[in-house]
């Protein structure tokens, strides 16, 4: 049942994304319908995750399938909220939805998994706070990626024509880096709460495990981008490339590292 609801949610997202892409190609703005579909998709998805949580007794962070599902969920949740509140970013739907399609396809390659156990160190409220900030971080960068995509697409005529009604590149660049600034705050909070959790769980707040190290490297990348943009007054296009670079790094850290090593962080688990 929960899986059927999940498929329904995914189909709704695909409809919303296709409609947005259709609008982009046809130079239409079906924004209200897209918003409705997004809200519906998020509601269905939330229901499915909640049902699975209830049944399994743990949140969606054990198997790769769960991690991707909850990753898609938080990207969509924050994206939908911003889509609703900040109409200036609505045109980004045609840029970001394809990224989600890729994630959905990737998720379907994995079995949902029925692992019913979570390690002892997961029994703490810091887990939820830490993961919450991590999700807020990547979702906020995701919106900046959408704006950056527009800036870059405008370099070709096809895109320039279709995005002509939007504010100029400088304004978009400013908006995109606002989201980067907010993302950086979430990311810093993620690092701090992660350190608190690690101190609680393993008696050390930092140990250079792969995930810690790469999360920190991503953070350095973010401050580098903010400083570079400030010091050299970089063009909107360079800014856009930096944002996309940060997103790719963050994405690999999120969905790559925890699943190539056997545990999310070293030290978790063991009898």
């Amino acid at each position: 049942m929960e899986l059927q609801i999940l498929w329904a949610a995914l189909v709704t997202y695909v409809l919303a994304g296709s409609l947005a892409i259709f609008g982009f190609v046809m130079k239409r703005k079906p924004e209200r319908t897209v918003l409705l579909l997004l809200v519906l998709g998020v509601l269905l998805h939330t229901t499915s995750i909640a049902m699975r949580w209830e049944r399994m007794g743990h949140g969606p962070y054990i198997t790769m399938f769960e991690a991707l599902s909850s990753g898609i969920w938080n990207l969509m949740l924050i994206y939908t909220l911003i889509y609703w509140r900040i109409p200036a970013i609505r045109a980004t739907a045609a840029v970001v939805m394809p990224i989600l399609f890729v994630m959905m396809g990737w998720m379907m390659l994995f079995p949902p998994g029925e692992i019913g156990h979570k390690p002892q160190v997961y029994h703490t409220v810091w887990l939820y706070i830490h993961i919450g900030f991590a999700k807020a971080f990547i979702s906020t960068v995701f919106i900046a990626v959408g704006i950056s995509g527009i800036i870059l697409l405008r370099k070709i005529r096809y895109g320039a024509e279709r995005f002509a009604h939007l504010p100029n590149d400088t304004r978009l660049d400013d908006l995109s880096f606002r989201f980067m600034a907010v993302a950086m705050i979430f990311q810093t909070l993620m690092l701090i709460t992660g350190a608190i959790w690690a101190q609680d769980a393993w008696g050390r707040y930092w140990d250079w495990d792969p995930l810690e190290t790469w999360a920190f490297i991503t953070w350095i990348f973010v401050i580098f981008s903010l400083h570079l943009r400030h010091t050299y007054k970089t063009s909107p296009q360079i800014g856009a490339l930096l944002v996309i670079g940060v997103f790719i790094t963050a994405f690999l850290v999120f969905f790559g590292i925890p699943f190539v090593s056997t545990n999310f962080h070293q030290g978790v688990g063991g009898a």
């Binding site: 200036a88 156990h117 600034a181 769980a201 580098f224 010091t231």
Partner: protein, 346 residues
């Protein structure tokens, strides 16, 4: 009208020029790249080569000080200044931590008291050693297990301890998993490292006083197939092999269970070709004394850490986040979030 000679206006003194160079924001970018390099060095060489991080941070401190002195931006933007200072504060605290920390491990048998001898440890050069002034008695502990998918999984660890702090205060606590014992600035964490310990008494042949000792067998259940260890009774010159043979099921493959000392077990002692199977109370004669097997207990491995900077580090980090949020708040409230397509809009 200026009283200064014209030359000092057109070409500032060397010191001022140096300061301006040090305040360059391009230098900041280089330092950020150096920080990245430092992180990669630490990560890939697996060394604790702290200079790799210390150098960029010393650079940041100089760069930032010079910027505060010469660049009005920080005087205009207080929140941004507080943020950067908090960052330097964090770096300083980490440096202090590296100079004063202690990290180590110790194993204590149930009923035994730890009085400062660590199994392994490393510490900073300025560590204020107080470990020998405290006492920690491992009274008893339980570890619960469940089973899912046929795999044994540890649930929770609870350890009852009695302690005496360096200034003589005594007390008892229950610790385990996320809850360490904080004693005299040291944190004692239980670990997954725990096992069985046959306890022996040793009566030396030369008539000197009887002594008691315990063999720490390898971690259980992780090394359940290798429950043996070489051991020298306290004060003896003879080294024997001690093996534990467990004749019942302790951790169940299909029901929740608890780590406990097995009722049915044998302790096997070997010396060269000789081999003895012992039950509690049995004794054997070795070349330089008599060894009496008393009972089987459990030992717990503890991680011990000392780091007094923790609350300050947390405070500095929170200050950093709050001031950064404050900076961006001021910056973004000045202009709307929803730019329109109007080209005249600033």
């Amino acid at each position: 009208m200026s009283d200064f000679p014209p030359s000092s206006i057109t070409s500032p003194s060397l010191a001022v020029r140096c300061l301006r160079a040090l305040a360059s924001l391009k230098l900041t970018l280089i330092l950020i790249i150096l920080l990245l390099a430092g992180v990669l060095i630490i990560y890939y060489t697996k060394t604790r080569f702290i200079w790799a991080l210390a150098l960029p941070f010393i650079g940041f401190a100089i760069n930032l000080t010079a910027t505060v002195l010469t660049n009005p931006v920080f005087r205009r933007q207080l929140a941004l200044l507080v943020f950067h200072l908090a960052l330097i504060g964090i770096a300083l605290l980490i440096a202090v931590e590296r100079l004063t920390y202690l990290k180590g491990q110790v194993e204590v048998v149930e009923g035994e008291t730890f009085t400062g001898q660590m199994l392994r440890e490393e510490s900073g050069p300025w560590h204020p050693r107080r470990l020998d002034k405290l006492q920690l008695t491992n009274e008893n502990f339980t570890v619960n297990y469940t089973n899912s998918d046929g795999i044994l999984r540890r649930v929770d660890t609870r350890n009852q301890v009695a302690w005496v702090s360096p200034n003589g205060v005594a007390g008892r606590s229950i610790i385990g998993d996320q809850e360490p014992l904080l004693l005299g600035g040291y944190r004692f964490y239980t670990t997954i490292n725990k096992g069985f310990a046959p306890v022996f008494s040793w009566r030396p042949a030369d008539g000197s006083a009887e002594r008691v000792g315990a063999v720490h067998l390898p971690s259980y259940p992780r090394m359940h197939l290798q429950q043996q260890n070489e051991w020298q009774p306290p004060g003896s010159a003879t080294s024997v092999w001690v093996m534990l043979q467990i004749d019942e099921e302790i951790l169940s493959p299909d029901a929740p269970s608890q780590l406990r000392v097995p009722d049915k077990h044998k302790v096997i002692v070997r010396l060269d070709k000789a081999r003895w199977e012992l039950k509690p109370g049995d004794s054997i004669r070795l070349p330089d004394g008599v060894l009496v097997y008393q009972e089987l207990r459990k030992w717990m491995g503890y991680d011990v850490t000392y780091n007094f900077t923790l609350p300050w580090l947390l405070a500095a980090s929170i200050l950093a986040v709050l001031s950064m949020a404050w900076h961006f708040w001021q910056k973004f409230m000045a202009r709307p979030w929803n730019p329109t397509g109007n080209p005249n809009e600033k």
